[in-house]
Symmetry: C2
Subunit: 349 residues, 2 copies
């Protein structure tokens, strides 16, 4: 068992009140010799103030709740590392919860963390969180009276600060890069069209085409999941349909594309250029290092922690601190998987 003030009192033969006055640096007139006896005993017994009691008195637990869909996914583990680094610099710890990428569980995590008396919550909703489902979290957040920072979704309607990565701007950069290289026939290998991320990325693609004076042809959309198999399967069709470039909506999809292309003897980038999305660590380790879009997970994690700490300070809650709206533009990382298209008879350039 950890040692308590009572143990110190017993050890020194003093009263609990005396020991407490000295250790908590309250005003007192206790002789220096006695103080030293107390400090020595505290060291010998490895006394540390009970953090639970301190938190209870201060009404501050010095913890931030972090809800992510799945910590084993790279974006969220890198993000969480950023949160923890920044939180620790201010003496905060993080309580981590996974929603298993299910929106019902996100709500449960919120309730659970608020029962834990965390000072703030940072939540990245599961990918199946539609706009309607997001709004259902509003009363939960309001009732908790805990400042909540939303990641990846506009928290305006929920009265929350939020940090989003501009998905549309990321996709725009990918397509503009391919258009600048001279590609005109570009396939989009997307995730589910029901997801807001997918919709926003398609919007960015459309904008890039239209700014270049090229009508956006929806037949270039190959809908799949954000997974390897979707890349494997659609790459076959893309090659047959004469596309000179592929924009895969995730690096994992791009991996599937690589596999199929290599099997069919299609050279990357000489025959078909490939751009991914996410900049996972393996993107630079592929047989042809992948040009992709970096979502700045670590930076966003640090920013989220800073935001959470700011909003959790008691004064800010009382004063109704202004909510923040932070939008990051992701960045294009050019590697070796893109080049100008070859002039081919069946090509488009």
């Amino acid at each position: 068992m950890r040692s308590t003030l009572k143990d110190l009192a017993r050890e020194t033969g003093l009263s609990v009140a005396t020991v407490s006055l000295v250790l908590n640096k309250k005003r007192h007139k206790i002789p220096t010799v006695t103080q030293e006896r107390i400090f020595t005993a505290a060291q010998n017994l490895n006394y540390r103030p009970n953090q639970l009691a301190v938190s209870l008195v201060k009404q501050q637990s010095m913890t931030i709740g972090v809800i992510v869909p799945d910590i084993s996914k790279y974006f969220f583990s890198e993000f969480t590392l950023g949160v923890e680094e920044e939180a620790r610099r201010s003496g905060f710890n993080i309580i981590l919860s996974n929603s298993m990428n299910q929106w019902e569980l996100s709500g449960e995590c919120l309730e659970m963390l608020s029962g834990r008396c965390v000072d703030a919550i940072i939540m990245a909703p599961s990918s199946d969180t539609t706009h309607d489902r997001l709004l259902k979290l509003k009363p939960v957040i309001e009732k908790s009276h805990i400042p909540t920072i939303l990641i990846g979704r506009d928290g305006g309607e929920l009265g929350c600060s939020f940090i989003i990565v501009n998905q549309s701007a990321g996709a725009y950069q990918a397509i503009k890069h391919l258009l600048d290289l001279g590609h005109r026939k570009i396939a989009l290998l997307t995730g589910s069209l029901n997801l807001s991320n997918t919709q926003e990325r398609i919007e960015g693609c459309r904008r890039a085409f239209e700014e270049a004076g090229i009508a956006f042809d929806p037949s270039c959309i190959f809908e799949g999941q954000y997974d390897y198999d979707s890349g494997l399967i659609h790459a076959e069709k893309v090659a047959e349909a004469g596309y000179t470039a592929v924009f895969a909506f995730s690096d994992t999809i791009a991996c599937g594309v690589y596999r199929t292309f290599i099997k069919k003897g299609i050279r990357i980038p000489q025959d078909i250029s490939v751009v991914g999305f996410d900049n996972v660590p393996f993107a630079q380790m592929l047989s042809v290092p992948l040009t992709t879009i970096n979502q700045l997970a670590h930076t966003i994690g640090m920013e989220a922690a800073a935001c959470a700490i700011r909003e959790s300070s008691v004064n800010n809650i009382a004063a109704g601190v202004a909510k923040k709206r932070i939008i990051y533009d992701p960045e294009l990382i050019e590697r070796e998987s893109t080049c100008p298209p070859l002039s081919r008879e069946d090509g488009f350039c």
Copy 2:
């Protein structure tokens, strides 16, 4: 602000004592009508018991501290997911800390979590934790009086339960697989020879060779770091020296090997077989899916949480629960990067 017993007392016009008796299900003779008034008010004001106060009274915070070197690394994020899943099933939450893969910080994390009154700590030491450094943590752990589960290192001398992956057995399987295919000239692309993981894996390789009646030739060891560049660089030498197979001590090293081999036109596995270690998600997505060793991160995380919860129960601490020593054998995952060696004039088979 969250509502308190005081708020409920004010709302119902009853005393704090009455409200507390009812909500905490203590014995009382309060009329049912009054009880219902209290429950209704509690619901309206979204009253939840202050978890800090509950923890203080019960001397149990229902939290487990988790210290990992770097959550952004796949093994540790998958491991932490397992810990959290299992912990949550028993009503526990986890406080996550990264030691930034520095052993000094591991010690600081231990101190910090013990100040947090966590009920148990699960610690995966940083890779630079030598045996001497590990022993320096013993007094920190003992003084904390918090059950601590060590991951990946023998905790016997520290008086801790521990879970380790048998690194030697993993390496043994990799080499045995290659020997069974007919390979005799196998290069080992290792991480730093100072690390205990590296030493144990080399030991497993040696055992596999010797069991097959082949003298272990230390010149087959190519020491590097556990990174991509080490694979890139050493793959050149391996190809020139006539090896027919490579056992890369991490999947990341294997990626570097792939890159060099592809550039030099060396076919995997027809010209040279490659085995990795870790079974990271991208191992199966490489241009030639990688045969590798699975370290069972998720399973180990769940086991660690179960062990921590068992040891944290107050009775067990009082009774001095027997420490556990859990050893997992990793498993070989056969994919497409290995095959029998070709008969070559300069070959060895």
